[in-house]
Structure formats: C-alpha cells, structure tokens
C-alpha cells in the first residue's frame, strides 16, 4: 500500500517536473534561413501597408501606360521627362522616390530611347562640374559657357491616397496610386492612370 502511494507520488512529481521544464522556449532557435523571394511575391511577413509586390505591380502598369501614348510612342524626338516627387496622403510613411525610380528604370530599360529622363536630383553636382569646366580647372570637349542643361517637356508625378477602416473585425486599408504625365508648357495632363489595392487583416486578440 505504502509503495503504491509512494510510486504514485513519484509519478506525480515526474509530471510536475515535466511541466516545470516546459518553458516558453525560443521560436526557431536556429533561425530561419534566408528565403529569396521575387519582389512581386507576397512574403510571409505582411501588413496592410504599401509593400514590394504593390510597388512592382503599380509601376509596371504605369510604365506600360506611358509607353503606349501617342506623345511618347510616335514622338520624332524623344521627349524629356523630369520627376516631381510623389505626394503621400496615405497613413503609411513611405520612400516616395521609389515609385518614380522604378517607373523610370522600367521605361529606360524598355522604351529603347523613346523617352529621356533628366537627372534633376543631381543638379548641384552637375552645376559644380560645369563650373569647374568654365573656370578651366578641368577639361571640356564642348564650349562650357553654352547652356546645355535640357529643360523638361513633361513632368512625371503621382499621388498616393488611402482610406482606412478599423473595426472589431479587423483593419482594412485601401490605397489609390495615381500617376500623371504633365505637359510643362501647357500644364495639360497628357496621361494619367491609377491602380488600387485593398488589404485587410485582423491581429491576434492578445493585441486587441
């Protein structure tokens, strides 16, 4: 009888020991190997904000749109385009240049010279170089006193706007990405297109 009770107690102690050892532990203690993903793929880390797959989808659509318009595809001289920063009206802080940079690189790589972009963000460096040439401190293959910096025919710009809804069912974010090509001489919008993305999610109750 005593032995049975002793045995039962020890077994219970063993259970208690096991319970005591059950720590919260470390998730993925060995880490997770780097997973290379395509930029247009939705990753396993995701929110309702602006993500790489949105950037890729939106900029590719815009680049295709710009290439298809008459003023670009049928222009006798390639029009010169300057970038004007995107206006962010969403609730997501973003690197605004990234949209125009990707549209520019898409167009530069696919348009086969049908459109030329102006490096306006490098103007101070370019001006310094021109000044060095003008003062004879460095050589020049052309007459440095002649104004050769080109003016823009069009401005490419855009706007990001959003609507957010948060209820007990979750958070929903709708973002409208709109881009325009504006004729700098006439202020006419010669091209405009938009893309819209809506995402929803609900956090764990532990965070609500």
């Amino acid at each position: 009888m005593k032995m049975k009770i002793l045995s039962a107690s020890l077994n219970l102690a063993a259970v208690a020991f096991l319970v005591g050892c059950a720590s919260s532990g470390v998730k993925n203690p060995s880490g997770v190997p780097v997973t290379e993903m395509k930029a247009d793929e939705r990753g396993f880390v995701a929110g309702t904000g602006v993500e790489s797959q949105d950037l890729v989808a939106v900029t590719e659509k815009m680049a295709r749109g710009i290439l298809s318009i008459q003023q670009i595809s049928a222009a006798t001289t390639p029009p010169r385009v300057a970038l004007d920063p995107v206006i962010n009206e969403t609730r997501f802080p973003i690197n605004k240049d990234i949209f125009l940079t990707r549209i520019r690189t898409q167009l530069n790589s696919k348009s086969q010279g049908k459109v030329i972009f102006l490096a306006r963000e490098r103007m101070s460096t370019l001006e310094k170089e021109r000044e060095l040439k003008r003062t004879g401190q460095v050589t020049s293959t052309t007459d440095p006193t002649v104004q050769e910096f080109k003016g823009a025919d069009y401005f490419l710009t855009g706007k990001l706007q959003g609507i957010t809804t948060k209820t007990k069912e979750g958070t929903s974010d709708y973002v409208l990405y709109s881009f325009q090509l504006i004729d700098v001489r006439t202020s006419e919008i010669i091209w405009e297109d938009s893309a819209e993305i809506k995402k929803q999610g609900l956090e764990d109750a532990a965070y609500r």
Binding site: P93, G170, G201, E203, A206, R208
Partner: protein, 388 residues
C-alpha cells in the same frame, strides 16, 4: 526508481539553456537597450527599440532614433494573422508578458509620432502626416468612441501640414480644436519655418491589480512642469500641453485581452477552490475505517493536488511592460524666423508659470536660406545644449 532518477537528470540537463554573455546593467538606456535588443528575448525587442529611440532623440542622436523607430514600426505594423507568442499568451499557462511586446495603443501611437517628427526633420512633412494618421488609427479602437482618435496635436498637425502642402486641412484642424481638453491649438502661421516639439513630465506608469494581478491599470499624471516657453531673439512661443498621455492610456477602455485574463483568473480561482475541496474531502474520507474508502480518499487527495497544480500553473497576470521614458504632455510651437543662426531657449514652467529650475534647455539652430522647415525636438529630460 532508477529510471526516474535518470529521467530527472536528463531533463535537468535538457533544461540548461545557452545564456548570452553576462551584462552588467549600466543604467544608460541606449547601452542597456542595444544589448537587450542584441541578446535579450525577442519578445521585448520592440520595447527596447522604443526606449532607445526616445533616449537617442533626447540626446540629439536622430539617426540612431530613426533606426530604432523604423525597426519598431516594421514590427507593430505587421501584426496581422497568426502569432505564436500571442497565441501562447492567451493560453491558461503562459503569462500575457510572453507575447511579443508592441505596447498599448498610446505607446504605438507615440512611436509613429516620434518617427513622424524625424520625417519632418528630413524635409518630408507628408510622411509626418502619414505617421500622424497611423498614430490616430492606433487610438481608434477605444471602447467608448468619444475617445477614439482624440489626440488634439495629431489632428491639428495633420490639418496644419495639409494646409502647408496646399491641401484642405480645415476638417482636421476643426476636429483638433473641438477635441481640445486642456488648450486649444492656435492658428499657427502657415509661413512658419521652425517647428518646435516639446514634451515634458513623466508618462503613464502601468501596474497590475486584482486578486491575481490580472487587471491592467495606469497611474501617474504628476508633473512639476505643466507648460513650457520657447524664446529666441524677442520672440516667445507658448508650448502649452495639447495632449496628456495618461488620459490617452486610461480612456482606451477594456481590451480583448482583459477578457482572456479574466477567464484565466476564473480558471485559477475555480481550480484552486476545487482542489482545496477535493483535498479536504479526500483527507476526511481517507481517515475512515473502510479500506476502499481510504483508497478513494487518497485518490481524491491526489486529484485535488493535481487540480491545485493546474491552478498554480495558471498565469492571469496582466502584462505591465511599458515604454517607461515617455512624457506626460505633448506640445508644439511653430515660429517664423529669418535665415541664419538662432538660439532657442526652452523654459519649463510650473502651475504658477514660474520657471522650474534646472530644466531649462538650449538648442542652436540654423535656419536655411532655402524654404525648408527646421524641426526641433526638446524634452524636459533632453541633454542640451544641442546644435542642430
């Protein structure tokens, strides 16, 4: 018996985990925080990012602050869907503090607010506005909708920035002025070029109450400083408090997690009572003369003990980890200054509008020739003089 000893030894060895190198706490938030981020539990990283970022801002280390706020925001903006640590924290046998810390809504809102100040400082007011909108969203799921998204300064700055970007910010400004509980934001000039953010007083302090510390509460609200004054070359700006973080922390209302913790507390209480009852009943039964009754009594005692073990293992304690270097009051002043160097003196005032000694801070700024905002952040705990 031998197998049991071996098993215990094996488990004891198995339980020995690899610990990071010993670290002597220095008391310096940045040093200790960066160590904790590198070597401490992952669940506390966001908390340390918050603390380090704000400490860095108060020292004028804005790039460092940016890195930490970006890391924190990357985490708190991606909390949708399954989360293993959160799932465990909802279980009966894991404390709420086991979940990845992202903070209560007022803490998350402040992370966005401070990141926004740094965006504006970098010449990106629209990203500041985006941060303010996210901050307001953090505060939108209050139980009582009267207090939903009711940060006066956030709404005001949303409107003010929109106006400065040639949009229509009238609604947001009106909302801010209607929400004002302490001070009504004035119509700062749209041509202002020096934006001064001032905060002061010790922020909300979390504590747990209830039979099993399952109820999260906040205390604080006592500050020797109740307003501030920014002066430079004869210009005086009143940095009065527009928002009170203790008010924001306490007006959120019940959380979904409070129900979970309440259930855990009920489980703990019930199993404890049932266990006690079983042990007493078993002990009484075991003392009877009948052998079968004795066995049944002992079994009942065993069941009672096991039930007590479950009760003991239940952890309804509320998570009281907190962003402990937050301020109590948030303020803002917009000044219009000519290009060139300026010395801003920020004096912190008590309820009688007397300057609180040892709190005065000095910041040197150079307003650029080109139209660009100069953004200054000063707290009553900032280390100054700073040259921006």
């Amino acid at each position: 018996m031998a197998w049991l000893v071996c098993l215990a030894a094996a488990f004891a060895l198995g339980c020995a985990s690899n610990k990071p190198p010993a670290h002597q706490l220095t008391g310096d938030v940045i040093t200790d925080g960066e160590y904790a981020i590198e070597h401490g539990p992952e669940k506390d990283r966001v908390l340390w990012h918050y603390r380090v970022a704000l400490a860095a801002m108060r020292r004028g280390q804005f790039d460092l602050a940016k890195q930490h706020l970006d890391s924190a925001i990357a985490r708190i903006s991606n909390i949708y869907g399954k989360d293993e640590s959160a799932r465990k924290a909802r279980g009966y046998f894991a404390a709420e503090a086991k979940k990845t810390f992202i903070g209560e809504p007022y803490e998350r809102a402040m992370a966005y607010f401070y990141r926004g100040i740094l965006y504006w400082r970098d010449g990106e007011p629209d990203n500041m506005r985006a941060c303010l909108r996210s901050a307001l969203l953090m505060d939108s799921d209050t139980e009582d909708k009267t207090y939903s998204g009711d940060y006066v300064l956030f709404d005001y700055l949303d409107g003010y920035i929109t106006e400065r970007l040639h949009g229509d910010g009238a609604d947001a400004i009106k909302r801010a002025q209607a929400e004002a509980r302490m001070w009504r934001p004035p119509d700062f000039p749209l041509a202002a070029n020096v934006m001064v953010f001032v905060d002061y007083g010790p922020g909300p302090h979390k504590y747990a109450t209830g039979q099993y510390a399952e109820e999260l509460r906040f205390r604080g609200g006592k500050s020797p400083v109740v307003s501030a004054r920014v002066t430079t070359a004869g210009i005086v700006g009143k940095a009065v408090p527009y928002d009170d973080l203790l008010f924001q922390a306490t007006t959120r209302g019940g959380r979904a997690m409070d129900h979970v913790l309440g259930n855990k507390a009920v489980f703990k209480r019930t199993t404890d009572t049932a266990g006690t009852a079983a042990i007493i009943a078993g002990a009484v039964t075991a003392t009877s003369g009948n052998r079968n009754a004795q066995m049944a009594g002992l079994a009942l005692v065993g069941a009672g003990l096991i039930t007590k073990m479950f009760s003991s293992a239940a952890t309804p304690q509320a998570d009281v980890r907190m962003w402990d270097n937050l301020p109590l009051y948030l303020s803002f002043v917009a000044l219009e200054l000519p290009p060139g160097p300026h010395t801003l003196t920020i004096e912190f005032l008590d309820a009688q509008e007397r300057v609180v000694s040892n709190f005065t801070r000095v910041v040197q700024v150079t307003v650029p020739e080109v139209p660009q905002d100069t953004v200054v952040y000063v707290s009553d705990t900032s280390i100054t003089p700073q040259t921006l």
